[in-house]
């Protein structure tokens, strides 16, 4: 909402404050002033000039030499390039020494002819193009009103003004009008606001208009009929008001309705009475009904929308916009003026569905002040009679009822003080509230507040506590801490996350946080839970952010892609976050949010170039990270070769915990990584973060005092046998003395033959109660050899 200080001055005395001071006070009391525009900040020395003569410039085709009366003894000579300059016009002259935005006017010679000043367009004074008459957009401004040479143009155009821009929160729609702002400012300045008396002079002729309400969405509708109007340009003062508030002047009738809307907050609409007829029926639109609004757009209506009709066809979208079929134009001679109360939700819905917002809809949808419906109608009728020469027919046609009663709030001094943690006297509270125009009754502790209809945001005692606090000021508020002690702690879940993060960072991975929304295609990648589906937004902004992720890996691959493209080829990132999966396509219940931890690594895992050593990231580097994490978290994971969507079929393992799959590790399918993420070879892992918990409590185990014995074994096996299969057989065969098995050599090559490989294991035996005897180790070890031979047809390697 833009507020002209000049206009505000008509209702409340703000002359003692500058715009900035006023802005500061308003902001401190709860409505943020987002800016103050001093409209004449860059303008001075600009006066009315009367063009006396105009002659062609002797040296330049497009220039004219004029003499202009600017109210001084002698006319001045001004060279002017505007195509529409003519002798006899009243124009804007920037005198020598004048300032315009970005220019200083000096005495100059233009192609040899002296020019003492400049004849200006409104644009040169800083007006936006939309406020300039079409026939003057290429040239200078001419006054049509009676003006006197030498008169201050800034005064005439209302530019000695400051405009405050209020950033209104949705509860303060009462300040969407000058009346409302005046009440608020009067409260802040501790003064009173006064409003003009309104008198309509009615003709003897009575209006024959009939209004019928057929919908509950319109509780009240009123109209007046005005005959013999002459459509024309509005007077300067009216145009100035509208422009200061950001509205383009159109013609005297439309301008009056807009002016009254800004003044009172009540939207009005004017119909051409000849086009409308003598009957108004307010009803819900019919299915399939269509209608052209004033902006010349054909609108498809549905029964949720409220329309004004002439008994047959729609003539306006109630509270949103009028229709082209009843528009007031240059030939209009009689009008019907509407002022109504439309249900906020109805206007809001219609405006939403049609994507059509107007100054009218934005007020109706927040609820206008019922007490101003008829007041605004009379105010506009009187102004139209005055400015467009109309005759107001006798009678206001009205239908329905308005809720005009004050709302009573029973609060108490102690409640307000208790809530605020302050100690304000009841009498002080009463005085503060009365400044806002509320009626207050103080009786002991009881504080009864009568709220007029314009303040629909004040409903309960807590609302009153806020009004008191914001006028009293929060600077007086003391500080304390809640008195009761409370058990503060970081829950296990949060501790667990912090531990995972610390471990992965220690392992060299940096944390990434990526968007939860991705494209539908990427949301399908790496999704192992095929019985669950991705969740899609109903109305996404773009396809790329249309679907909730089901895996963290696509986001991490995008991170890798971004960095690799910027010469950072060696990277390791992890992310700890949720993925979202839906059970049923209908989405009656919330989707499952599963917390995963995933990692991505590309390039070199380690490199010490000065020392000639490096480790390339491969499957085992990333598996090593998972193993490190598992060991530190005290969980035992197993790995199984597996084919997983989007992953390299030969370099991917499922990760299992107690036989249940909790994730996977491996290389991203090279075709996918190359084509979609520009990455040749990239390794990833993804695990269910909340399952990486040891279920067992850690209990101290005594450290053995007895020495262990280590035996090595090397065997030749078929290529197809996996290390974990062999290890499993060893563990089963060796018996309880075996403490640890370590694979320390893997060999393939000529020495073992085609399709064969050799594994060498180191086995550590120990008895915790006594020193081992050589024979028992030998016996255990022989079991192992026999078992391996039998299970895999393995040969002992010499």
């Amino acid at each position: 909402m833009l507020v002209s200080k000049q206009w505000l001055q008509q209702f409340v005395d703000v002359s003692q404050k500058t715009g900035e001071e006023l802005a500061d006070l308003i902001t401190k009391s709860g409505i943020e002033v987002e800016g103050v525009e001093v409209r004449d900040a860059e303008l001075n020395n600009i006066v009315v000039g009367h063009v006396l003569t105009k002659e062609k410039h002797p040296e330049a085709d497009k220039l004219n030499v004029t003499t202009v009366d600017i109210g001084q003894e002698e006319p001045v000579q001004i060279v002017c390039g505007a195509p529409n300059i003519e002798a006899g016009q009243d124009v804007i002259v920037a005198r020598v020494g004048a300032r315009l935005p970005g220019i200083k006017i000096k005495r100059a010679k233009l192609r040899g002819v002296v020019s003492e000043g400049m004849i200006c367009s409104l644009e040169e004074l800083g007006f936006e193009k939309k406020y300039i008459r079409e026939d003057e957009q290429a040239g200078i401004h001419t006054f049509r009103e009676p003006v006197i040479p030498g008169q201050d143009v800034l005064e005439l155009l209302g530019l000695h003004d400051e405009v405050l821009e209020l950033g209104l929160t949705p509860n303060r729609s009462d300040c969407l009008s000058m009346y409302g702002v005046a009440h608020e400012v009067a409260g802040i300045l501790n003064t009173t606001a006064t409003f003009p008396a309104i008198e309509v002079t009615e003709d003897e002729e009575k209006t024959k208009l009939a209004v019928t309400l057929e919908s509950e969405e319109c509780p009240f509708y009123a109209a007046r009929e005005i005959k013999h109007v002459v459509i024309g340009e509005s007077p300067l003062w009216l145009k100035n008001r509208l422009i200061a508030n950001g509205i383009r002047p159109i013609n005297n009738v439309v301008d009056v309705t807009n002016f009254v809307l800004l003044e009172t907050g009540q939207p009005l609409h004017s119909f051409d009475a000849e086009k409308l007829g003598q009957q108004i029926v307010v009803r819900q639109a019919k299915a399939g009904e269509a209608f052209q609004t004033l902006d010349e757009v054909e609108r498809a209506l549905d029964p949720s929308m409220l329309v004004i009709t002439d008994g047959e066809k729609p003539v306006a979208l109630a509270g949103v916009m009028g229709g082209a079929n009843t528009e007031v134009d240059a030939t209009t001679t009689s009008i019907i003026l509407e002022s109504a109360y439309f249900a906020p939700t109805s206007v809001r819905k219609t405006s939403r569905v049609l994507g059509l917002r107007s100054d009218s809809s934005s007020r109706f949808e927040k609820g206008v002040d019922p007490r101003r419906v008829l007041l605004a109608l009379d105010r506009a009728a009187a102004l139209i009679a005055e400015l467009a020469g109309g005759t107001v027919l006798a009678g206001t046609v009205q239908s329905g009822t308005l809720q005009l009663d004050d709302h009573l709030i029973e609060a108490s001094v102690s409640y307000i003080n208790h809530r605020l943690g302050m100690e304000i006297e009841g009498t002080v509270m009463k005085e503060l509230l009365e400044r806002l125009g509320l009626e207050v009754e103080l009786s002991g502790d009881a504080l009864t507040v009568s709220v007029p209809t314009r303040r629909q945001d004040l409903m309960i005692p807590a609302d009153i506590s806020e009004e008191v606090a914001r006028l009293y000021g929060y600077d007086a508020l003391t500080s304390s801490l809640p008195q009761e002690a409370s058990r503060g702690f970081l829950p296990k879940r949060n501790q667990h996350r912090r531990q995972i993060r610390r471990l992965l960072q220690g392992a060299g991975l940096s944390q990434a946080i990526t968007y939860s929304l991705t494209s539908e295609q990427r949301a399908m990648q790496f999704n192992e839970q095929t019985d669950l589906h991705p969740v899609k937004l109903a109305m996404p902004i773009s396809e790329a952010r249309s679907t909730l992720r089901t895996s963290l890996i696509p986001g991490l691959l995008e991170v890798a892609q971004h960095n690799v493209a910027r010469q950072h080829a060696d990277l390791a990132f992890y992310e700890l976050g949720s993925v979202y999966l839906q059970r049923d396509a209908s989405l009656e219940t919330l989707p499952i949010e599963q917390e995963l931890v995933a990692g991505v690594a590309v390039g070199l895992a380690e490199q010490h170039r000065a020392h000639g050593t490096m480790v390339k990231t491969d499957f085992f580097v990333v598996k090593g990270i998972v193993e490190t994490l598992a060991e530190a978290l005290n969980v035992t994971l197993t790995y199984e070769a597996s084919v997983i969507d989007s992953m390299h079929p030969g370099r991917t393992a499922r990760v299992l915990l107690d036989g249940e799959m909790i994730g996977f590790v491996g290389q991203v399918h090279p075709a996918l990584s190359k084509e979609q993420y520009g990455l040749k070879e990239v390794y990833v892992f993804e695990l269910d973060a909340m399952k990486l918990h040891s279920k067992e409590r850690v209990v101290y185990q005594e450290m053995s005092r007895f020495p262990s014995m280590t035996r090595d074994i090397a065997i030749v096996l078929n290529q197809s046998v996996t290390a974990s299969e062999v290890e499993q057989v060893i563990v089963e065969a060796a018996g309880p003395l075996l403490q640890q098995v370590t694979l320390f050599d893997v060999y393939t090559g000529d020495n073992v033959g085609e399709d064969k490989k050799s594994f060498a294991f180191s086995l550590r035996y120990q008895n915790k109660e006594r020193t081992l005897v050589d024979e028992e180790v030998t016996a255990a070890h022989e079991h192992v050899v026999t078992a391996l031979t039998k299970a895999f047809d393995a040969e002992l390697r010499a």
Binding site: R172, G421, M422, I460, S480, P482, A512, V535, L537
Partner: protein, 340 residues
């Protein structure tokens, strides 16, 4: 005999002094002090000497032997030292070469800030509460005094999934859920998490961002408690010298509502580009829990009151570290993340 022994002594000592390795010294020891060495021989031949000569020669022989022994040992220490020095000299390296550092990853800046805030409030007696990011309209709006068609819903245009389910637009639904679950008991929680708004991404807007929200409900909670709590937080987070200022504002779920400014941590209040010359920076919104919100969560609003506050983690991080584009947090460029 004496001359012979002394000559032997001088000869041996000379060799000892000349020896530069442990082996050469050992050779000297074997040669002069060994079982077949000349001194042993002299001692062995003493039987032929007279009784008067015998002790004299014995004494001289033992003295010579002792001297050689001592010198040998002395020399051995030196030689060992020299050998060690020579060996270590060969092992010398250029210690200014780079080491082999272990790569250590970093926590995301938003995480660092979140952790810091969590720790401050745990210290003030709070615990952490969480809720789903895909939320019911009921918890995201309705239970927070934002019924369907409430004009304030415009302030936070949302990503809906169905008519009743949406991406949460703030962490406040966690408040509603926690209150319902607490069945009228006092509450002190902090709720950090991701939230979503239907915004186009640019330098100051992000369709996804992080919020942290606090809620305290008790028997006599007031605005003064809110102010004290936020003061404690701000001093811990931004420095002891910081002060706060409350400005009236509006949120549907609090009444009264305030915006909270902190005195500028760059200029200290004198005015600079960070605080736009005002000396104050807006960092969070807060207020007393709206009685209707308490009642919808089955609290008796005549007996219990509460305060709530909420802030954007990105905003805090941007202010604290001077980051000028919110998108940096989600690009995860290493040139950005390595700075923190």
């Amino acid at each position: 005999m004496r001359e012979q022994l002394e000559a032997l002594r001088d000869e041996a000592l000379q060799l000892v002094n000349q020896a530069s390795t442990q082996k050469e010294l050992n050779d000297v020891r074997v040669k002069y002090l060994g079982k077949k060495g000349p001194i042993t021989e002299v001692l062995r031949g003493m039987g032929k000497l007279s009784a008067e000569e015998r002790p004299v020669v014995g004494e001289i022989a033992n003295a010579v032997r002792g001297v050689i022994q001592t010198e040998l040992e002395q020399r051995l220490v030196d030689v060992k030292q020299q050998e060690m020095d020579a060996k270590l000299a060969l092992e010398a390296i250029d210690v200014t070469l780079p080491g082999r550092p272990k790569k250590v990853g970093q926590a995301h800046l938003l995480q660092q800030v979140t952790d810091e805030i969590e720790d401050i409030f745990v210290g003030l007696g709070y615990t952490i509460a969480e809720g789903p990011e895909v939320e019911q309209d009921l918890f995201n709006f309705e239970m927070l005094n934002l019924p369907k068609d409430h004009p304030a819903r415009d302030m936070q245009d949302s990503f809906y999934i169905t008519d009743e389910i949406l991406m949460r637009t703030h962490t406040s639904p966690v408040q509603a859920r926690t209150m319902l679950a607490s069945k009228g008991e006092p509450i002190r929680i902090l709720c950090p998490g991701k939230v979503y708004r239907r915004d186009e991404d640019d330098a100051t807007h992000s369709h996804q961002f992080m919020q942290v929200e606090g809620l305290v409900v008790g028997e006599s909670i007031s605005m003064a408690d809110l102010k004290g709590t936020l003061e404690a937080f701000v001093k811990q987070m931004f420095g002891e010298a910081r002060e706060i200022r409350l400005r009236p504002s509006f949120f549907p779920f609090t009444e009264p509502s305030v915006e909270v400014d902190v005195s500028c941590f760059k200029c200290g209040g004198k005015g600079c580009n960070i605080c736009k010359q005002t000396g104050w920076i807006e960092i969070l919104g807060a207020g007393m829990v709206h009685p209707r919100v308490l009642e919808m969560a089955e609290y008796d609003s005549t007996k219990m009151s509460g305060f709530a506050f909420g802030m954007g983690i990105e905003r805090i991080a941007m202010l604290k570290y001077g980051v000028d584009d919110i998108r940096h947090f989600y690009t995860n460029d290493v040139r950005f993340s390595e700075q923190f």
